[in-house]
Symmetry: C2
Subunit: 183 residues, 2 copies
DNA sequence: CGTTAGATTGAGGGGATTCAAAATTGGTGG
DNA sequence: CCACCAATTTTGAATCCCCTCAATCTAACG
C-alpha cells in the first residue's frame, strides 16, 4: 500500500471484480507501464494480477507526489499518461458497448499486437500471455464465445494458431477492418 | 480548437461515433465539469453534444498548460481530476461489460441522481436531461431495451415516471441493489 | 385538429450464453 | 520418450436475453 509500480518485466492485468464473481479487466499492461497509481487513502481502486512472472519497480506514492510538485515536467508527464489512459478507456468502452463479439476479438488482437510491438515484445508469432478467460473478461464475453471467434478468424485465414497462447496475424489489415480499428 | 471548456450551465454528453452510425456516450457532464480537454494537436478525441442549452467558459489550452507548469497545485488538481475520470471509466466499463440490461439502467439512475445531487441539481423529481436513445448509447443497449427496463422498474415500484424525462426514485436502496452500486 | 418526435409495447429472430462433452495442451514422473 | 493427469480450449446443442422490426401511444406544437 502507498506505492505504485512501474513494470519492468511481464504482463499485468488491471481489473475490477463484483461480489458474484464477475469481473472486468480494464487494462492490460506490458513492461514500461505503471500500475497501482489509482488509490484513495491507501486503498487501490482496482485489482492487479500478474499474467506472467512480473518484475516491477515500486515508487512511494507520497514521495513521488511531492517530487512532482517540485518538478512541473514530471507533473505534466503524469497528466499526459493519465490522459492517454482515459482515451484508451473511452475506446475500450466503445468496443464493449457497441461491437459484436468477433469485432471485439479482432480489435483486441490488433491492439495487443500494436501494444506489444511498441514495447519490443515479439509479434511474429504473437504470444498473448493472456488466456481465453481473461480475454473474455476484458471484452465482456464468455470463454466459449472468444474461442469460437478465434476459430472463425482461423477459418477465414485471418489468423493462425501456433499454440493456444500464440497467434500469427496472417492478414492484419483484414483484422483491423473487422475490428474497425482506425489506422 | 485549442480550447477546453468548463460547463457553467446545462448537460453535455461526450461520445465517440463509428463510421456506421453506432456511438458510445462515454461521459455525461453537469455544470462544474470540464470537457474538451483530451486532444492531440488541435483535434479533439471525442465529440461533445449539448443535451440541453449549455453555458460554458472557454480556456485556451496552451495558456492553461503554461499556467499549470508554474502552479504545481493546479497541475496536481488536473491529475486528480483525470484520475477520478479514469476510475469512473473503469466502473462504466464494468457496467457495460458485465451487467445485464436492467442492472445497467438501475446503475445509471443511481449514478445520475448522485451526480446531479452533488451539483445541486433537483433530484425530486429527477430530471434526466437525456433521452432514451442517449441512455441506450451510454449503456450499450437499444432504445427499446432501455424503455422496457424503465417499465419493469416502474412495475416493481422502484421508480415512478412523471414525464418521460422526469423520474422519481421511490426506492433508491432497491435501485442501488439492482445496480450493484456500492455505497 | 393534424403533425411530428419520442416513448412504449408486442412479436419474432438472432447472437451470445449456458450447460455439457470432447479435444488439446502442458506438466510430471516412470 | 511416452504414459498419465490436470488444466485449458474447442465444439455442440439448447436456452435466453437483447435486438430488430413494426405498430401504438403520448405529448408538444403550429
Amino acid at each position: 500500500m502507498g506505492s505504485f509500480f512501474k513494470i519492468t518485466e511481464g504482463i499485468v492485468a488491471v481489473s475490477r471484480s463484483l461480489a458474484d464473481g464477475r469481473r472486468q479487466i480494464v487494462g492490460i499492461h506490458p513492461p514500461g507501464d505503471c500500475v497501482g497509481y489509482l488509490e484513495i487513502n491507501g486503498n487501490y481502486l482496482f485489482q492487479g494480477e500478474a499474467l506472467t512472472d512480473v518484475g516491477a519497480c515500486a515508487f512511494d506514492r507520497r514521495k513521488f507526489d511531492l517530487f512532482a510538485l517540485r518538478n512541473p515536467d514530471v507533473a505534466a508527464s503524469v497528466s499526459e499518461t493519465l490522459a492517454s489512459r482515459l482515451e484508451k478507456a473511452g475506446h475500450q468502452m466503445t468496443v464493449i458497448g457497441q461491437f459484436k463479439a468477433i469485432e471485439r476479438v479482432a480489435d483486441f488482437l490488433s491492439k495487443i499486437e500494436k501494444l506489444y510491438g511498441a514495447r519490443g515484445l515479439p509479434t511474429k508469432p504473437l504470444t498473448l500471455h493472456i488466456r481465453r478467460g481473461e480475454i473474455a473478461d476484458h471484452l465482456g464475453l464468455t470463454i466459449e464465445t472468444v474461442s469460437r471467434c478465434f476459430s472463425k478468424l482461423k477459418k477465414r485465414n485471418v489468423i493462425a494458431l501456433i499454440e493456444s497462447d500464440s497467434v500469427v496475424l496472417l492478414d492484419p489489415e483484414r483484422l483491423a477492418e473487422i475490428g474497425q480499428v482506425e489506422q
